[in-house]
């Protein structure tokens, strides 16, 4: 038989056995697909609820084994069981026929859809370990380290006296004990000609000229680093968001939509600047 087959370019079926449609087999495919999908959900839920390895590990094992079993039963339903030969040294002829020489049998598409569905559910459930990568945010992004009575300090940790800020100057300040806590960064501005007006909260302005805003730009979170004295503008160099320091830091130009939150500012008995509480608005870029 070798000479004759050597001239053939491709697969030659030697024996072929077509399984009869079987309801029992259909039930096995659908049953194992459902088991796999449920096990996948069990894996995801078990992991989310932080149960033990015995629970979600077993669910994962059952899901994979069931999916494997279902796939096996599905293929044995859809295709004839064949044995074929292929020449070791085929001729290289042009060949434009359909890709596989074995055509699938005309069978119910429900099996395929169930299996694809179950595989999809199971595959999605394998994303369940992703939350393990980091803790839940809680309100960590909504609160800063400013509390009522917290002193404003410089990056060196020195408290700031109300009389000691240069006119037209800006300074980066921090809550005492939380220097370099990024979300708590504040920019302290001493406005030269004192006409601070609404919507600034005037109760939080010290001596009609000292005012403090969150330094974290409300657009993309860069530090608002520059102060333009002639028009009292705070400017973020990243995307050119510009805020009016005498009018509650409302945006006047650039891509941001939200004003810099104003820090409730006060003075303690020793004359040092303090916060009167945390920011009342969301600090930094939008999320959620």
């Amino acid at each position: 038989m070798s000479d004759e087959q050597r001239s053939r370019p491709d697969l030659q079926v030697v024996s072929e056995e077509t399984p009869p449609p079987s309801q029992a087999n259909d039930a096995l495919v659908i049953g194992s697909a459902i088991v796999a999908a449920l096990a996948g959900i069990g894996f995801a839920v078990g992991l989310a609820l932080q149960t033990s390895i015995a629970v979600y590990g077993t669910a994962l094992a059952i899901g994979l084994l069931a999916l494997g079993f279902g796939a096996r039963r599905y293929f044995s339903d859809l295709f004839p069981d064949i044995e074929a030969v292929e020449p070791r040294h085929p001729d290289d002829g042009e060949d434009d026929e359909s890709v596989a020489a074995i055509a699938p049998l005309e069978r119910r598409s429900m099996l395929r859809n169930t299996l694809i569905g179950a595989g999809g559910v199971f595959g999605l459930s394998l994303l369940a370990p992703v939350p393990s990568l980091g803790p839940a945010p809680g309100d960590e992004l909504k609160r800063t380290d400013w509390r009522r009575g917290t002193r404003l300090v410089t990056t060196d940790g020195e408290p700031i006296s109300a009389d000691n800020v240069a006119t037209g100057g800006v300074a980066t300040v921090w809550p005492e004990g939380s220097v370099n806590n990024e979300i708590s960064a504040v920019i302290l501005v001493r406005v030269g000609d004192g006409h601070i007006r609404e919507p600034t909260n005037l109760e939080w302005v010290v001596n009609d000229e000292l005012i403090a805003y969150s330094k974290v730009c409300t657009h993309a979170g860069c530090p608002v680093g520059l102060f333009r004295e002639q028009d009292n503008a705070l400017f973020c160099p990243c995307h050119q968001s510009t805020f009016d320091a005498v009018r509650g830091a409302v945006p006047t130009f650039g891509p941001t939509a939200r004003a810099l939150p104003q820090l409730p500012l006060g003075v303690d008995e020793e004359g040092f600047l303090i916060a009167l509480g945390d920011f009342e608005e969301q600090v930094g870029p939008a999320f959620g």
Partner: protein
């Protein structure tokens, strides 16, 4: 071909002209025998190793500075630990699902190496290494070596008491290289053991260099299988020299492999539930100067450890100052000789039996006395060396003094392989003579006799 897949292929074909190649690939025939699936399981283990390894990499800290563990594991709470070990404890005890992924990774690593070894045994015993496949046989030996490297570096990363001891012994092996040993050891370790550099370096080897090398080599290995087509066991009435007989890739082998992949994953998940792979809280962190009574490598390096244990005391200096030591001979020269011998064996067989032509049909090793003798000899020797790596445990279990066990192993590792090798070679020669056969020097010749028999 399902309609959706067929449509996708039509669209691809209109752009990339894949149809002919795809058809050839889909029609590739896979001879079926359970032992042909060993290599597939190794590939699937590799996939699982890569996926779980990515997860572990997010948490592991390749650093041995001491830090305080503040998590929930009661054994280590509040203790100062090397950062690498601390991150493993944290991963196992405090990261949701971390223990599952550690165990899956560990289990898959054992399965990966075990199936490579068994696959290699099958190749050697049945003669699948013969022309035209010698090249791929070398690639396979290279893969086994890379897998040992990945296994050893992975074993070291937790920096538990066993890992530290293993690294210490590897350092000694590097030091033992004559003339250049100290220099090479300092290059690899960044100074005298234990430096802080070894763990970050092993980490880079384990997560980057070795996986890249393994994946590339597996690719080459499979490409060669694809080009050369499979070997197969002989079957009456089939001209195996010219034809491959089996199941086409699409759909039957695809179905089989898909199942095998899912079942491999499922069994590894079940094993992760049932087997406490490498429970670090039983071991504790590595502290230089301390070693437990149970210092053993992973099983696949037992043979090396056994050789170190039973090799007789040896240390001498060749003028002008080249030191040859026991660890060098037992841990470098001996494995080098074994691997070189196994790599060159195909040429030995070819020369002894004056073989010609290509060989695609597998053979029972008993039909080739030399192969039967060599394989039984080499592998019984490796098993005895492996057993010798447990001489302390054997001594405790059997109540025989450890000195006696060591001497028995020293004698056995020389006598047993020779006796067994000669015996099986003699047996298979007789078996051939009884059937009125000899070793055929070409496959066509062999097939005619086989069919005639």
């Amino acid at each position: 071909m399902t309609p959706l897949f067929g449509k996708l292929l039509d669209e691809l074909d209109a752009r990339l002209h894949v149809r002919r190649d795809a058809r050839r690939t889909a029609n590739k025939v896979f001879p079926s025998n359970w032992s042909f699936l060993l290599g597939e399981v190794a590939v699937f283990s590799l996939v699982i190793l890569v996926l779980t390894g990515i997860f572990l990499t997010f948490f592991y800290r390749p650093n041995v500075e001491m830090i305080t563990y503040t998590g929930s594991n009661p054994v280590f709470a509040g203790r100062s630990l090397p950062a690498a070990f601390e991150s493993i404890v944290r991963l196992s005890s405090d990261v949701n699902g971390g223990l599952l992924f550690r165990r899956l990774h560990r289990g898959a690593s054992h399965l990966f190496i075990a199936t490579i070894v068994l696959h290699m045994l099958r190749i050697m015993l049945t003669g699948a290494f013969r022309k035209p496949r010698e090249l791929n046989y070398f690639v396979g030996i290279g893969l086994l070596t890379l897998a040992f490297g990945a296994g050893f570096t992975g074993y070291s990363l937790p920096y538990d008491s066993l890992a530290g001891t293993g690294i210490r012994i590897a350092y000694t092996e590097l030091l033992s290289l004559p003339l250049i040993g100290d220099r090479v050891a300092f290059w690899i370790f960044g100074g005298a053991f234990p430096t802080g550099d070894v763990i970050p370096r092993f980490f880079v080897l384990h997560v980057m260099v070795l996986p890249a090398a393994i994946i590339a080599t597996v690719g080459l290995h499979l490409f060669m299988v694809y080009r050369q087509k499979h070997t197969q066991f002989p079957r009456l009435g089939v001209d195996g020299h010219n034809l491959v007989l089996g199941k086409p890739l699409w759909p039957l082998q695809f179905a089989e492999s898909t199942t095998l992949f899912l079942w491999t994953g499922g069994l590894l998940a079940a094993a992760a539930v049932l087997i406490p792979w490498s429970d670090v809280s039983l071991l504790g962190p590595y502290i230089p100067g301390e070693v437990g009574n149970n210092a053993q490598p992973d099983w696949f390096l037992f043979w090396l450890e056994g050789a170190l244990r039973i090799f007789p005391p040896l240390e001498f200096t060749i003028p002008p100052g080249i030191v040859i030591s026991g660890p060098f001979v037992a841990g470098v020269v001996l494995p080098g000789l074994i691997f070189t011998f196994l790599a060159l064996y195909p040429f030995l067989e070819k020369r002894v039996y004056d073989l010609s032509g290509e060989w695609h049909v597998l053979q029972n090793p008993l039909e080739i006395p030399l192969r039967a003798g060599v394989m039984l000899g080499v592998f019984s020797g490796l098993l005895i060396l492996s057993a010798a790596a447990t001489n302390d445990i054997l001594s405790r279990m059997l109540g025989i003094p450890i000195e006696m066990i060591t001497w028995i192993a020293r004698v056995a590792v020389i006598v047993v392989p020779v006796v067994l090798g000669l015996w099986i070679a003699r047996y298979s020669r007789k078996r051939l003579r009884r059937r009125g056969l000899d070793v055929p020097s070409s496959e066509v010749d062999g097939q005619e006799r086989y069919i005639a028999a």
